[in-house]
């Protein structure tokens, strides 16, 4: 870590000796980013599972052995059931996510930039926030039936709230001195939004997006298990009634992978989009 940062030899260091022996003082921040560390925890857990199954501590009826799960996954992929279910579920989640993000962002902007918008929008959103999206499902089923629209809208509703709350928060937190600056350099309304409001609210928005992604996944699981004829949730529900833990585990792993991949994408975007920030995360 410290040695990797050496660029020029430091006077007093023995020639030919590549390591830098400066005393690096302990820092209060978490230190520089080490690639791949995010995976240590999950891999350890996987190892434990493997060990427990191999030694017979874990009953296969409780939880199938990892290798059985892998075989099952291969079989499900080969016969096309898993790819099809995954595509259906991913599409649902993505559609709900996109709709929720767009609506949440638009509401946050209108409510954050005008007092009238705030008066109209903020109250209802706060009320909605107090009602879990999943509690609205019975009503949505009545209105929309049990088809795709109900599922996508339930997901979108769960996404909308964190996007709205965090974007609005970020927007209101923008230093008013920047608004003053914008006035002195003669920015118009549109340019002000583009140069000051949107970038200033981006950290809040991205934080909201991370919550939103998890919410989308949670809603996905629930809407698929309540009544679905396709998707990962349907596959799991079927397996549950036949006592096939290996298929259930495959489904769970797919959910986990979906979540990790989505969160990874958001984190990556965050690092790229927020390169201007000097935070504990980046240094």
């Amino acid at each position: 870590m410290a040695t990797a940062a050496v660029e020029a030899p430091i006077t007093g260091v023995v020639p030919g000796k590549a390591t830098d022996e400066r005393v690096v003082r302990r820092r209060l921040g978490p230190g520089p980013r080490v690639p791949g560390t995010l995976w240590i925890g999950p891999v350890l857990l996987l190892g434990l599972w493997f060990l427990a199954s191999a030694t017979g501590v874990l009953d296969p009826r409780t939880l199938s052995e990892p290798w059985v799960v892998v075989e099952t996954a291969q079989r499900l992929i080969a016969d096309g059931r898993l790819p099809e279910a995954l595509a259906t579920s991913a599409y649902r989640a993505a559609l709900g996510l996109v709709i929720g993000v767009v609506v949440g962002l638009a509401l946050a902007l209108v409510s954050g930039l005008s007092r009238a918008g705030e008066a109209l929008i903020d109250g209802p959103v706060q009320v909605k926030r107090a009602i879990p999206s999943l509690a609205l499902m019975p009503l949505l089923i009545l209105w929309l039936g049990i088809g795709e629209p109900m599922k996508v809208i339930t997901i979108a509703l769960g996404v909308l709230i964190p996007i709205y709350i965090h974007t609005h928060n970020g927007l209101r937190g923008i230093d008013s001195r920047y608004a003053e600056l914008a006035e002195t350099v003669g920015l118009g309304r549109g340019a002000f939004v583009r140069h000051v409001v949107l970038p200033g609210a981006t950290p809040g928005f991205l934080l909201g997006l991370r919550f939103a992604v998890l919410n989308a996944l949670l809603s996905l699981v629930v809407v698929e298990q309540v009544n679905a004829t396709s998707g990962i949730g349907h596959m799991i529900t079927l397996a549950s009634s036949y006592g096939q833990t290996e298929i259930i585990v495959v489904g769970l792993v797919v959910y986990a992978l979906l979540g990790l991949v989505a969160d990874g994408i958001v984190r990556f975007t965050e690092r790229k989009a927020l390169a201007w920030r000097r935070t504990l995360e980046s240094h």
Binding site: R177, L181, A275, R277, R278
Partner: protein, 250 residues
């Protein structure tokens, strides 16, 4: 947004700044500016000093048109192109240095003009840097570049070097003198540093009780050294105006 009764905000040639009977108050109890009159000629460098809380920033914000929510009245006449330099550099942290400099500029040559302004303040090659990657002095240079790229007729600066160390401040004085010679805008520089005022300005104005207490012309030529006896006597005079007793500083 409070309107200022009887106030006209107009744009004209002639003197760069004309202020008549300017009043501003933040409370019923008393005004901060009490009928202030001030004229600044085109291309004139004026320093504004006064005790803390005397209303220097209030006056500057009135000239910049940033005080629409403050109660008051009077005539404020400023040119069309006014730039402001704040005590903090106020660079947008999420825009690279060049984009900060060209913020709000239109036209296809904006980028070129921005680069030129950056090299003028000695920041060539730093155009792609993030503001947090610049030192405090460099950030203030970038802020100067941002104000100059607009080719202002009036430059308003509120203690622009207040947060800098003494050495950097001297460098910034040199830079400001150079830029003033090259662009020749009228400048109103708010400072709490009497020496800075005497070293840079053509005129030093002391704000007392919300009006111009004294208005002193500095005729020391372009070579000004604090060792010059005339410099010392001006300093003594200004410190007296500010209510600092001579023995305290001697």
């Amino acid at each position: 947004m409070a309107t200022h009764a009887g106030e006209s905000l107009t744009v004209s040639a002639g003197p760069a700044v004309r202020v008549e009977g300017l009043r501003r108050s933040f409370s019923e109890a008393g005004g901060v500016l009490n009928g202030l009159d001030l004229t600044i000629g085109a291309g004139e460098f004026v320093a504004l000093i006064g005790r803390s809380g005397s209303g220097k920033s209030t006056l500057l914000r009135a000239l910049a048109g940033l005080d629409r929510s403050v109660a008051g009245s009077g005539v404020v006449d400023v040119p069309e192109r006014v730039s402001v330099v704040f005590q903090d550099s106020r660079l947008l942290p999420w825009r690279r240095v060049l984009d900060n400099v060209t913020l709000g500029l239109t036209g296809s040559d904006a980028r070129e003009r921005g680069l030129e302004a950056l090299s003028e303040v000695g920041l060539e090659g730093r155009d792609r840097a993030w503001p947090h990657e610049l030192s405090g002095g460099e950030q203030q240079r970038a802020a100067l570049a941002r104000s100059l790229v607009r080719d202002p007729q009036l430059l308003l600066a509120d203690e622009p070097f207040g947060a800098l160390d003494a050495l950097t401040r001297i460098k910034m004085h040199k830079l400001l003198e150079k830029l003033y010679a090259a662009h020749n805008p009228a400048i109103l520089l708010v400072t709490h540093d009497v020496d800075e005022a005497i070293a840079l300005a053509d005129r030093v104005i002391v704000l007392v009780d919300g009006v111009v207490g004294s208005d002193i012309r500095i005729d020391l030529g372009s070579k000004r050294s604090p060792g010059d006896p005339r410099f010392a006597s001006l300093r003594a005079q200004l410190l007296t105006e500010l209510g600092v007793v001579e023995e305290e500083v001697a």
